[in-house]
Symmetry: C2
Subunit: 275 residues, 2 copies
Amino acid sequence: MRGHRCISSRQLDNSESETEDEESETMRCISCKAEYGTREAGTCKECYEEASETEEELKREIEDLKAKVAFLRFWSPLDNITRSHGGPCYTDVVLVASSHDGTAGPPVPVPAHKAVLMSRSPVFKAMLENEMEESRSGTVKISDVSYEAIRAFVNYLYTAEACLDEQMACDLLELAEKYQVKHLKAYCEKFLVSKLNWDNSVISYAFAHQHNAKLLLDTALSLITDNMDKLTKREEYMELVEKDPRLVVEIYEAYLSKQVNTAAHKGSSIKQKSS
Amino acid sequence: MRGHRCISSRQLDNSESETEDEESETMRCISCKAEYGTREAGTCKECYEEASETEEELKREIEDLKAKVAFLRFWSPLDNITRSHGGPCYTDVVLVASSHDGTAGPPVPVPAHKAVLMSRSPVFKAMLENEMEESRSGTVKISDVSYEAIRAFVNYLYTAEACLDEQMACDLLELAEKYQVKHLKAYCEKFLVSKLNWDNSVISYAFAHQHNAKLLLDTALSLITDNMDKLTKREEYMELVEKDPRLVVEIYEAYLSKQVNTAAHKGSSIKQKSS
């Protein structure tokens, strides 16, 4: 075994300055190749190698799961319309927007398979299993929603993919809520949370309330309660007071409990100092 | 900064014997908590923390993918037969085993959705897209395969899951090959590789050859060429010589090239020593 030179932590700390021939005398990180001292110690070689193996295993599992997703994903019957794959795709139901947004012309039906709708949504399952009107007619009317939203909704049921902007995320979250497609609802909610800011916080809060989107609700609420001083001047705030004062009350209640917690926290930290 | 006691690598190597109060003076692995010396150095703290974060991210991705798989997975129409979920499931095609295994009674039809078969298999897609006999009659006859195998096959097309033993893995691999369901073929092949041993190596080799199962073929072949001395005595070997001598030739060719490589390797290592 080589001899070991006596080195102080200080020397080790700014060891980047040391010359190459001294490498073997100090700890060198296998990963970043920099030398390090006692207080920067991470793991021993064995644990490092174990960790690397774990990472490899996780990556393999991800590859397997991606292949499984690719296998289970459906081509959507909409592909046949837009990209004209040609050939029949044996759709046995259509979804139609009975839209009230005053768009001209008759609504365009979106074709689908009962089997797919039923497997993705318990609401569709109940609707199509029991011989209800939709099942007999092979037509499912959906009100207050655009053709584009229904297209995207059906497409998601086949592919588990959607191209979102904020409007589409809201429309799809509403549909996901209505037809109990949890996976889509979570997907839209995550997107809306990522788009949260002070300007859309009040509207998002009200929207989340309306559609039981817990994650979006809590995130919006904490954003609002962090900016109470600016809140009352906002137009959306005044509208909300008019439209749904209970929601405003909940904002203040959340603000209050936050203040109490902060106070309690401060108190305890002061105690700690004084003791 | 604390003073640093001078310690030799040797002391660090058997540092487990050191007492607690000297901990802070030596490198201690964050992961396994054991002390380590220069030659056992793994990573610095920063790299350790980075690696931990990566692991967390990978685990989150796995959770997301598992949820996606759960969403995209179908309930199989077979569930309705066996567990009698009740309600129609709008199947529009049946698969029938025109079995030659001499089982009594008429074959039991396995119900399915054309849309599902078409989305999982390009062969079914071509068959059902173009108005072929199967498409018109709504019946797909499959020869030389048991009812159980067809059931398991259809079930896999809906759920990406199968309960395998060696016989079922072979049957499903044949079906996967015939209908070009790559994901299922890979799944069965992995299983058969995991079950490979000296006793089934020759049969597996021949089977893999017949169905273009490259991974199984190579694994079986290397198992065989590692035991050439025992090979010629095996019954399956003599049968293979009778039935398909070309496959036997390939075994010997593989064995030969292996010997050449080993010789070359030995040669080079001897050279290195002598130099």
